[in-house]
């Protein structure tokens, strides 16, 4: 690691101020992505501003049909939350499947969404559930937030404060985890809401999380595994790496979507 200065922010406004003044400062939340990046010397920030303990970034709350989760909420706490389990069980289940227990004990929702790793789980939930990302500056719709691998609508110094998930009628998430890391080789989140059905795919897109329009159309007519089985996902925009070819991943997406659809149709 290159040297940096560590400071624990006392308030959200102090953190925002430090980040606004120093463009090479970085917010530190759970550190489960940032610290490995620093250890590999892939980044050289001047300062790390620790925001993990800020009360403004905590809390899980469900009212008026919206589940709101603070950005610094750890994966383990989302997974164990009775409020989340009751409101959107698929989201609690997703959080319980991230990485391993030690990673879930440190990693946070805000860090994962801000990082927008193409194989991360939360982006699929945020996009399928049509959530709003609430930042220190504004509210950003999920469709506008994710802008390609490791790229989001966040401006320098802008912090995610919380994420607001409108409650779906039903939702399901299925992923094929990479056997070593747990990251998604392919993960599909299907959410059925009053205003329509959305299918978000993570782990596979060459430019990160994406909505699978054909699957949304097919399932709008009725949710069933058979509706997905008829589809073919074109492999052109699918990611290829040492873990799998793009054709293999496209097939995995279809299988995960079939399973998620089967889980949903069983629930109805």
């Amino acid at each position: 690691m290159y040297a940096f200065q560590y400071r624990r922010a006392k308030s959200l406004s102090e953190a925002a101020e430090v980040l606004a003044k120093d463009e090479d400062a970085r917010p530190l939340s759970g550190g489960m992505t940032l610290i490995p990046t620093l250890k590999q010397r892939l980044a050289q920030p001047t300062q790390l501003v620790d925001i993990a303990g800020l009360p403004e970034l905590g809390g899980i709350d469900c009212r008026n049909g919206v589940l709101t989760i603070g950005a610094a909420t750890r994966h383990a706490d989302v997974a164990a939350s009775k409020v989340v389990q009751d409101a959107i069980p698929a989201l609690a289940c997703l959080a319980a499947g991230i990485g391993d227990p030690q990673v879930r004990n440190r990693g946070t929702l805000g860090g994962s969404v801000a990082n927008n790793d193409p194989a991360a789980d939360y982006p699929a939930a945020v996009l399928a559930l049509n959530a709003k990302v609430v930042t220190t500056k504004r509210e950003i719709a999920a469709d506008d937030f994710f802008q390609g691998m490791f790229t989001t609508a966040l401006e320098p110094g802008e912090l995610i404060v919380k994420i607001a998930f409108p409650l779906p009628k039903a939702a399901a998430y299925c992923k094929f985890p990479h056997p070593a890391s747990g990251y998604a080789m392919a993960g599909v989140f299907i959410a059925q809401a009053g205003d329509g059905l959305r299918v978000a795919v993570t782990g596979a897109g060459a430019s990160g999380v994406f909505r699978w329009a054909e699957a949304e159309q097919a399932l709008a007519k009725g949710i069933s595994a058979a509706a997905i089985e008829k589809l073919t996902l074109a492999a052109d925009d699918i990611n290829e790496d040492i873990h799998g070819t793009r054709e293999y991943r496209a097939q995995l997406v279809k299988v995960m979507a079939t399973r998620a659809a089967a889980a949903l149709s069983g629930k109805k």
């Binding site: 690691m1 290159y2 040297a3 940096f4 200065q5 560590y6 624990r8 530190l28 550190g31 489960m32 610290i35 490995p36 620093l38 250890k39 590999q40 790390l48 620790d50 993990a52 383990a76 990485g99 391993d100 227990p101 030690q102 990673v103 004990n105 440190r106 070593a180 890391s181 747990g182």
Partner: protein, 156 residues
């Protein structure tokens, strides 16, 4: 450099360390608690697992400064009054190690696991040990040891 104060195994400790010092290195190099092992550079192996405020974490992926004011328990702090913790006793009894390099981390994860699941199923054990790698045993005796640790904990 900053002075870092934290409680380790029930005792208050203070030491100067660079801001970039990892908790694993702080424990090993400053406090000479070398039971916490560093097995990889990629946050994968879990050999460095310790408890911070009661939760299992990878101490190689946390800055010592992030643990300022926290309560840390390492493998050295598990035994009480000369009596092994149920997880330690079970790993010995079930021969859940060969070279022993992964063992401190495995035991710290096990201790947290049986607190959360006092009677863990095989699936909960396998899922619960996903953050710990062992290159020797093939895991069978480790899974047995976690079951046994839960029994010993109950009998306590």
């Amino acid at each position: 450099m900053a002075k870092i104060t934290l409680k380790v195994n029930g005792e208050q400790h203070s030491a100067e360390a660079e801001d970039r010092t990892l908790l694993a290195n702080f424990l090993r190099d400053e406090l000479k608690l070398t039971g916490t092992h560093i097995g990889c550079d990629t946050s994968q192996c879990g050999a460095c697992t310790v408890h911070v405020d009661g939760r299992a974490v990878k101490s190689c992926t946390m800055l010592a400064a992030q643990a300022e004011g926290c309560e840390v328990v390492t493998i050295e702090g598990l035994a009480k009054n000369g009596k092994l913790h149920p997880a330690q006793a079970a790993f010995t009894e079930c021969h859940a190690l060969q070279c022993g390099f992964c063992t401190p981390g495995m035991i710290m994860t096990t201790a947290a696991l049986i607190k959360e699941h006092p009677a863990p199923t095989d699936e909960q054990i396998v899922h619960g040990l996903e953050g710990n790698l062992c290159r020797c045993t093939g895991y069978l005796n480790i899974v047995k040891a976690v079951k046994r640790a839960a029994e010993l904990q109950k009998a306590k």
